[in-house]
Each structure stands twice: as structure tokens, then as C-alpha cells.
């Protein structure tokens, strides 16, 4: 049976679905006997989701959008001046 360390080393590929069948089986066998590793796997996955959802909320503020538009417009009319 694989140990927790090996289990965590395989997590990345397990989540990507890129492990071969045999390795997947031994990993899942480990999960059955090891609730901490299941919790670890779930929170590992959650970490990505939570961070992605939070960081993707960044919007360009209106003031910034307007300032950028102005600069780009000036640049098109007089390239190379700023």
C-alpha cells in the first residue's frame, strides 16, 4: 500500500486525471483507509477553486478604463509621444 507522502505526491496528476489505472487504484485504496488524505485532497482542490473565484473578480475600474482609452486615442493620433 502507498503511504500518505506518496499519496500527496500523486494528487496533482490524480486531479488532472493523468494517472494510469493501476496507480489510480492504489491511490483510491489509500483513500479508503485514510480519511485525512481524503480531507487533504478535497481541500487541495478547494484551494484552487476559492483562489480562482476570488482573484478573477478583479475588474478594470471605470476611471482606469477611461484613462486608458484617452492614452490609446492620443497615441493613435500622435504615435510615439508618450
Amino acid at each position: 500500500m502507498i503511504c500518505c507522502k506518496e499519496c500527496l505526491d500523486l494528487l496533482y496528476d490524480y486531479i488532472e486525471g493523468s494517472l494510469d489505472q493501476e496507480t489510480t487504484d492504489s491511490l483510491e485504496e489509500h483513500f479508503q483507509d485514510c480519511p485525512p488524505c481524503i480531507s487533504f485532497m478535497k481541500t487541495y482542490k478547494s484551494t484552487t477553486t476559492i483562489c480562482r473565484d476570488t482573484l478573477n473578480q478583479v475588474e478594470v475600474p471605470d476611471a482606469v478604463r477611461e484613462a486608458l482609452l484617452k492614452v490609446l486615442k492620443e497615441n493613435k493620433e500622435h504615435p510615439g509621444e508618450n
Binding site: 503511504c3 484551494t47 476559492i50
Partner: protein, 209 residues
């Protein structure tokens, strides 16, 4: 908002780039429009500063305008834009604070001699819903990401936040696929650990009530 591109988008974008290279300024406006939010988002997440993100976005959009003739099409256009964005963001970071000295290794999982988990692992993955998007949670996440060493941070932002493929992140950062994977894995382990203390504390607060 992510850089995972369906095929048609990519085709359209390539056409826009060629038109702009041929002198069509309307094509440039469209390109700037498509990329503005992506450039701003990535540079904001790297610099964590609105002024810096604005400067970077302006600089990148102007660079696209001036240097479009140097784009050869050897890699994807978006990869080129990303590289310029990262370089401009790094310039901002360099001119400022020193990276915090956190050893990422200290936050890696620990095992006993037989290779079994040493610490108690709580499953908080089901309890995040009510916390998500609160200011407190946002702060915790932003602080955790700020603590990531730059190498791991940029891989995390490109792969997990922007949603790029491992191969594409490797192309942009000039890293092999295994190197991207290992940095991303370390970043996730580090962030998981950081977020765990927060969410676990929150669950215990809830139990007490």
C-alpha cells in the same frame, strides 16, 4: 475571464493581429479591448496595486501598438502579450518592496518515518460557501498569495487563476512541463495550508455558537 481560448476565438484573434500588422487601426482597438481586462487582472494580482496595474496595462497596450511588427507568430499571440505583461509587472515589483522572506518548505506537508500524515487534517471544503467573497476571506486569500515566492506565484496565477494549460504556461515562462507542474503543486500545497488555518478556525467558531 480566462485565457483558455476556443479555436474560433484564436482564429479571430490571429486575423485581427494580421490586420493590425497590415495597418488597420480598428483591429488594434479590438485587440486592446479583448486584452485590457486580462492584462489588468494579471498585473493587479501580481502587484496588488491599482496604480501599478493601470501603468502596466497602459504600457503593455502601447507596446502592442508599437511592437506589433516584431511579433513573429512563432508562439501564440496571447503568450506574447502575457510575457510582456509579466515583464512590465516585474519591473514595477523590482522598483519597490523586497519579497517577504517566507520559506515555502516550512509549509509543506509533514510525515512521520513511515510516510504517514503527521498533522490533523480537517475537511473544510464544504464550509467555504458562506465565507466566499466576504472581505475577510478575500484578505486572507490575497495575503496568502502575496506570501508565495514569485516563481510559484506566477505559475499559480497563469495556471489556476487564468486557466491556461500547463504547456502554455511553460511556453510563456520558458519552463518545462514538469517544472510548471511542480511549482504549481507547491503553490497549491502552500495556499492550502494557509487557507486551512483560516477555515478551520472559522468552523470551530461556528461549532461554539
Amino acid at each position: 475571464m480566462s485565457f483558455t481560448q476556443p479555436k474560433e476565438d484564436k482564429k479571430l484573434e490571429e486575423a485581427l493581429v494580421r490586420e493590425f500588422q497590415g495597418g488597420n487601426l480598428e483591429a488594434y482597438d479590438k485587440i486592446a479591448d479583448i486584452y485590457q481586462k486580462k492584462i489588468y487582472g494579471l498585473s493587479f494580482n501580481l502587484t496588488r496595486n491599482q496604480m501599478d496595474a493601470q501603468d502596466v496595462t497602459q504600457e503593455v497596450l502601447l507596446t502592442l501598438f508599437r511592437k506589433i511588427h516584431t511579433f513573429q507568430g512563432k508562439s501564440a499571440f496571447s503568450s506574447w502579450v502575457y510575457r510582456i505583461t509579466l515583464n512590465a509587472s516585474y519591473m514595477k515589483l523590482r522598483s519597490k518592496k523586497k519579497e517577504p522572506n517566507v520559506s515555502i518548505d516550512e509549509l509543506m506537508p509533514s510525515f512521520n518515518g513511515a510516510g504517514f500524515q503527521q498533522e490533523k487534517i480537517q475537511d473544510w471544503s464544504e464550509n467555504t460557501e458562506s465565507l466566499l467573497f466576504t472581505n475577510e476571506t478575500r484578505d486572507v486569500i490575497n495575503k496568502a498569495i502575496d506570501l508565495l515566492p514569485e516563481k510559484e506565484k506566477v505559475v499559480f496565477l497563469l495556471r489556476d487563476v487564468e486557466g491556461l494549460s500547463t504547456e502554455k504556461a511553460g511556453e510563456i515562462l520558458d519552463l518545462t512541463v514538469p517544472a510548471v507542474k511542480s511549482r504549481l503543486h507547491r503553490a497549491r500545497l502552500f495556499l492550502r495550508k494557509k487557507l486551512s488555518s483560516y477555515f478551520e478556525e472559522f468552523s470551530s467558531r461556528k461549532v461554539e455558537k
